[in-house]
């Protein structure tokens, strides 16, 4: 196949490759219109690398609603002022031009007009709270094993591993290694795509069983027995003895 493709002229090659990818690619692998992962210019050159990577500030020190609400929350300006101090009472980085921008805005009682990066469509409800507080032990056995962070940090296994590790690493499973970013950017090209979400959710125990196999062959053969058996595999009730949320119900995210 490869040699054949090479023998074609480049435009033809591109078309043929495109069509082949379109037809043959496994379902979970691509977004047709990927999200730009170019870093966007922000009003203030805030460095996550400096704050998180070097100074070790926890994610939820600033994004304080992540464990409590749908939205993780953008830190209020007073959080910045808390460490850096306002004009006249400068504390950390007393004369840094970028920090001064923040102090100017504070003096003018204005907020910082950050550019939104991680933007999921409005018809999706993503509760940060439910993910930050999720029980990581509900992953299937072996999910997240075999992660090689050096080779491919954004592979599925690595994302699951980061999620299992919890803490700030759980944030990284979707947002990437923010602690290494000078300017934050979206790491995954299909961030927020439905398949991208589903990749991880299919690693939760019982979900595959529920998605694929839990069909009823109603009226055809031994439907009841088969379904009862399948249901038992789907972990409808979790270890804390209440029903687990159904990650396959469209209404879980879209309403």
């Amino acid at each position: 196949m490869r040699s054949y493709l090479i023998s074609l002229r480049p435009p033809t090659q591109a078309i043929v490759t495109g069509v082949l990818i379109f037809l043959l690619s496994p379902m979970n692998s691509f977004a047709i219109f990927p999200i730009s992962n170019e870093p966007k210019e922000q009003p203030i050159a805030f460095s996550h690398k400096l704050h998180v990577g070097q100074n070790g500030i926890a994610c939820q020190y600033c994004h304080l609603y992540a464990r409590r609400s749908h939205s993780s929350g953008i830190p209020p300006v007073s959080t910045c002022v808390g460490c850096h101090g306002p004009h006249g009472q400068e504390l950390v980085q007393a004369d840094h031009p970028e920090v001064d921008k923040m102090r100017d805005l504070w003096a003018q009682e204005k907020s910082i007009p950050w550019i939104k990066l991680h933007d999921i469509p409005d018809f999706v409800r993503f509760p940060h709270k439910q993910h930050i507080n999720a029980d990581a032990s509900r992953f299937i056995d072996g999910a997240g094993n075999g992660c090689d962070l050096d080779a491919d940090p954004r592979s599925l296994s690595c994302r699951v591993m980061l999620f299992r590790n919890g803490g700030d690493q759980r944030c990284q499973s979707c947002h990437g290694s923010v602690q290494e970013m000078e300017v934050a950017y979206v790491v995954d090209q299909n961030f927020g795509g439905m398949g991208w979400c589903m990749q991880c959710h299919l690693q939760v125990e019982g979900v595959i069983e529920r998605k694929r196999a839990m069909s009823t062959m109603a009226g055809w053969n031994n439907a009841k027995e088969n379904d009862a058996h399948r249901e038992s595999q789907a972990y409808l009730v979790n270890k804390r003895n209440y029903h687990t949320p159904n990650m396959l119900d469209c209404y879980t995210c879209h309403y």
Binding site: A31, I32, F33, K40, Y65, R68, S69, H70, S71, S72, G73, I74, P75, P76, V77, S78, T79, W106, E109, S111, I112, P113, W114, I115, K116, D119, P121, D122, F123, V124, R125, P127, K129, Q130, N133, R210, M214, S215, T216, A218, G219, A223, K224, D227, A228, R230, E231, A234, L236, R240, N241, Y242, H243, P245, N246, D249, C250, Y251, H254, Y255
Partner: protein
């Protein structure tokens, strides 16, 4: 707080906002996220999370219902009833639900205005000050009736600024009732009507479900009394020329001639008195009113009156009167007659009660208005302050208010635009009840607090009226209000007194508790010392003479628009009137027989004229009105109340002559006749019902007490097939389905009053757009829940039935299999999931829905600012080309599930509540988990096994589903309305077929 920012100013914090529902691949403009400057205190703010604040509803004049406002991102997004409040107990009426549109109404005043010129607040205040100073002592403050401390405050303020008079103005005044209480019982307050203690309710024309008294409370108490339970059902008789909603809910309607209700009451009293003379002084008083003598005047037969009197006497009973339709020249006499009837039937202290402490309600008599008019015309008044009232629209034109108003300077204090403040010299934009402080004390023992639940809506530069008054008073008189800076301080001090009298412990704790609960609520204590006084014979009833020729004119207060103040709210305009199903318009209700006689076709435009003038409106033929009367709803026909109100319908009050009730000086609304003249004008009146009759299809089904209690076989159950052979097993056998939830609903049609509050609540909860008259005309209204009104029977036997219909969440739904892209499917909790973003818009699902419960976004609908701030940010707002429908408020279910999961358990019964269920005063809607056999909804939906097995016995069970023969298996179970007798139309047993 730091930097002078109050926490409520922080609603800039919109972590998720804007509209970005763009298809994949389109280039998106980067969205901005603007964080807060100062973090809100953690427990007070969480993004995307609803917070509840208790306050008081101020929409209607009777009103002091407790409200619970859900605010997200510091924007009020939903109004619900305060569950602690004894009046409404968590429910709200349609007006209360629509109070959000008072708050976010785009037609609110944005700036102070002097004449037609926009001025600054400083200028406005100084102009106000100079006006007050120029006219000290000759000031009149015309405001709404107050139920809290505001009245005293304004009186106080008037004293401080140089003296003046405050007039409480309400068109639908209870002054006559109050005066009658004084005459009959020597009480200065209004009684409590204990519906729930009565077995027979005789209603002499009070529109108790719509506007009379506390409609939410009335509705609940009426449903408690009237609804079928344990094989018994109490009776309600409606007497009067017009049915309306209250009459439609009655078991029997006696179409008495206009204005003669009192004669029937007295005749009944006469019969009872003869049998059981309780008060000797009544002998002479009642003697002219024997049934034989009144029969011809009232149009009610002697036998009927006698048997009714008998029933009234035998049972625990209650007679009520009041509201607009009793506002004739004999209003007080009518009330006295009804009180007398209650007294002779020994109802005092049982169903008609007075509170132990006598709390006088405000004088709302119109004699003050008449005095004001003559004073104005005489030039005795220099400054008229109109606070949140609209006398130009609300008072009959014959009184000439607009001319009289020109004789004085007029200052209008108002949140919204209206006809009166359009003509004012100075307009002061006021805040709504959502944004300002206040309180209410509607009856002894209820102290309801009104607190700001959000910062003032940012597009209007308005201030709280009391704060403006205080500021102005301080400019005029430096000694005024020295203790306080604003009205909050005033309320705070006032409540300190409440605290002192009743409670121990520090006031701060009490204050916080009050704000949390929405007020102080104490159980009422009843007085036993009230009895009928012999003063009653001083009130002689005379048959009112209606002026003019033709048919008696009945101005009917609308359940949505009240006296006109609801007309500028899009939700209330778009929700069809429960009786006529007409939207965005007024109509003339005429009896079909009369119409035939006059040569008037249905839906034609007629001209009504009397000595006062004439107006044109579309005819709505209905058996629910007396043959010699026409009814027109009050509230429409605005000219300067904003685009939603202006130009729709007519103002019937223009035809009312200036006649008054002798005892109170109240305006007589039932005082004229009109000539009805057919015209050839083409009508453009929109009604949303495709057919007023259900053609025997049992959508709103009814049964009788006898059928439910007897063992007789009934062959009415031909709808459900005898045996359902399932081709496939039930969905509950699918793995993972209905575990642990199968959401379901039970709607009790015997409790449903048709008040349509649920419809408005649904609009508010689910970001449903309002489409306007033109689009409603072609069936594009978006309401997910509709109050269907069906008529059964003919002539005086006509029965009106209501059925709230929403998506029935069928197990064997028709909509699902026809969608080519799985945009709708049966979810494991038994909902018909409608996934907007997957929808391509083929509309096949709508075609195949036998309940036609689906709505389609024909356009991208607009929510003009600031109405967009009301949008529920917890759900998607739909774009063009997408189907939508009721989803049992799935976001509320999800929130309930999240909350339960945080507690480590499943959702329990009663935790998941839909918006319609929440606001229903009558508790007609029950929602819950059908998979749980112990839940309330399962209990209610359960059918008797023997009845289920034999369709012939169907009428012996109240539970039914709509169109059972289609086998769609809906998750909504209806409970049949229960009648005392069967009502059969000419085609009652037919199914809408041709023959």
């Amino acid at each position: 707080m730091r930097k002078g920012l109050s926490r409520r100013n922080l609603f800039k914090f919109m972590a998720v906002g804007g509209t970005t529902a763009v298809a994949a691949g389109c280039e998106q403009k980067p969205e901005k996220i603007i964080p807060a400057l100062v973090p809100p205190v953690e427990f007070e703010y969480m993004p995307n999370t609803g917070y509840q604040y208790m306050t008081t509803c101020r929409e209607c004049d009777s009103g002091a219902c407790g409200m619970m406002i859900t605010a997200r991102e510091y924007r009020a997004q939903k109004a619900e009833g305060n569950p602690n409040h004894p009046l409404n107990q968590g429910a709200l009426c349609a007006l209360g639900q629509a109070s959000l549109q008072t708050l976010y109404n785009p037609e609110r005043h944005a700036q102070p205005r002097s004449g037609s010129e926009v001025i600054s607040w400083e200028d406005a205040q100084s102009e106000f000050v100079s006006l007050l100073q120029q006219s000290a002592g000759q000031i009149v403050y015309l405001g709404r009736p107050t139920v809290g401390s505001e009245g005293a405050f304004v009186d106080n303020w008037l004293n401080e600024v140089g003296g003046g008079k405050r007039i409480a103005f309400s068109l639908i005044s209870r002054a006559a009732e109050q005066r009658a209480c004084e005459i009959a019982f020597g009480r200065s307050d209004l009684p409590d009507y204990a519906f729930e203690n009565a077995k027979l309710l005789v209603n002499f024309g009070a529109d108790f479900i719509e506007t009379w008294g506390h409609p939410v409370q009335n509705g609940r108490r009426f449903a408690d009394m009237h609804a079928y339970s344990d094989g018994k059902k109490n009776r309600c008789i409606h007497i009067g020329p017009h049915q309306s909603l209250s009459g439609a809910r009655a078991d029997e309607w006696l179409p008495a001639n206009s204005g003669t209700e009192a004669m029937i009451a007295l005749a009944m009293a006469h019969v009872i008195h003869q049998r059981d003379p309780r008060y000797d002084f009544l002998d002479d008083y009642l003697s002219p009113y024997s049934p034989e003598l009144v029969a011809s005047d009232t149009g009610i037969s002697v036998d009927k009156i006698k048997s009714l009197a008998e029933e009234f006497h035998q049972n625990s009973s209650l007679a009520i009167a009041g509201g607009a339709w009793n506002n004739s020249e004999q209003a007080t006499a009518t009330q006295v007659a009804v009180f007398t009837l209650n007294a002779v039937a020994n109802n005092l202290g049982k169903t008609l009660r007075f509170y132990e402490s006598e709390q006088a309600s405000e004088d709302t008599s119109h004699s003050q208005i008449l005095q004001l008019l003559s004073d104005l015309n005489a030039g005795k008044i220099k400054l008229l302050i109109v606070d949140d009232s609209n006398p130009i629209h609300t008072l009959p034109k014959s009184l000439g208010f607009d001319q009289a108003m020109k004789k004085a300077k007029v200052v209008a204090i108002s949140a919204g635009k209206n006809e009166t403040n359009q003509r004012a010299d100075l307009v002061i934009p006021a805040l709504t009840a959502y944004e300002s402080w206040g309180d209410a004390n509607p009856r002894p023992g209820i102290f309801s607090i009104q607190q700001p639940v959000m910062a003032p809506v940012n597009v209007f530069d308005a201030r709280a009226r009391e704060d403006v008054l205080i500021a102005v008073a301080k400019q005029i008189n430096p000694q005024a209000f020295t203790e306080i800076n604003n009205y909050r301080d005033y309320i705070y001090e006032l409540w300190a007194q409440v605290h002192q009298n009743r409670y121990f412990g520090p006031f701060e704790n009490f204050w916080i508790e009050t704000l949390e609960n929405g007020g102080i609520f104490e159980a009422p204590r009843w007085s036993n010392a009230v009895d009928l006084q012999n003063k009653v014979d001083s009130v002689a009833f005379q048959t009112p003479l209606l002026g003019g020729s033709g048919l008696a004119l009945i101005p009917a207060p609308s359940i949505f628009h009240l006296d006109g103040r609801g007309a500028n709210k899009p939700w209330l305009q778009e929700t069809p009137h429960p009786i006529s199903q007409i939207v965005w318009d007024s109509w003339v209700e005429i009896h079909p027989d009369t119409a035939k006689k006059l040569g008037i076709a249905d839906r034609s435009v007629v001209e009504l004229s009397n000595s006062q003038g004439s107006l044109q409106a579309t005819v709505y033929l209905s058996y629910t009105i007396h043959r010699d009367a026409v009814a027109i709803p009050i509230g429409q026909g605005h000219t300067a109340s904003g685009i939603v109100a202006d130009g729709f319908g007519v103002n019937v009050l223009d035809l009312i002559p200036a006649k008054t009730d002798a005892h109170t000086g109240n305006l007589a609304l039932i005082s004229t006749k009109v000539d009805v003249i057919p015209t050839t004008i083409k009508s453009y009146t929109v009604n949303l019902d495709g057919n007023p009759r259900q053609l025997g299809r049992d959508i709103a089904a009814a049964t009788t007490v006898a059928a439910l209690t007897s063992e007789k076989e009934d062959h009415g159950g031909h709808h459900r097939p005898k045996e359902i052979v399932e081709f496939y097993p039930d969905r509950s056998e699918t793995a993972g389905y209905y575990k642990p939830y199968r959401w379901g609903m039970v709607i009790d049609l015997d409790r449903c009053n048709g008040c349509s509050a649920c419809v408005v609540a649904c609009y508010a909860e689910n970001n449903i757009p309002v489409v306007g008259k033109e689009r409603a005309a072609v069936g594009r209204e978006m309401s997910w829940l509709r109050m269907e009104r069906y008529l059964e029977g003919y002539q005086d036997e006509t029965e009106t039935r209501f059925a709230p219909i929403m998506c029935q969440q069928c197990s064997n739904a028709g909509c699902e299999p026809v969608c080519p892209v799985y945009a709708t499917y049966h979810n494991p909790e038994g909902l018909n999931a409608m996934i907007y973003n997957r929808c391509v818009g083929t509309r096949y699902c709508s075609n195949n829905c036998i309940y036609k419960a689906r709505r389609y976004n024909w356009f991208d609908y607009e929510f003009p600012a600031p109405l967009d701030q009301q949008l529920n940010s917890g759900i998607t707002t739909r774009a063009v080309g997408v189907m939508e429908k009721c989803n049992f408020c799935v976001h509320r279910l999800t929130e309930a599930k999240y909350a339960a999961r945080d507690l480590g358990r499943d959702v329990q019964d009663g935790e998941a509540v839909t918006a319609c269920q929440q606001t229903c005063a009558n508790k007609a809607i029950t929602f819950g988990n059908l998979a749980d056999p112990n839940s309330k909804v399962s209990q209610l939906a359960k059918r008797k096994p023997d009845v289920l097995a034999d369709p012939d016995k169907e009428n012996r069970d109240r539970q039914y589903e709509i169109f059972p023969e289609m086998n769609y298996k809906p998750a909504v179970t209806y409970l049949r309305k229960v009648n005392h007798q069967e009502v059969a139309g000419l085609y009652g047993n037919e199914h809408g077929s041709a023959h």
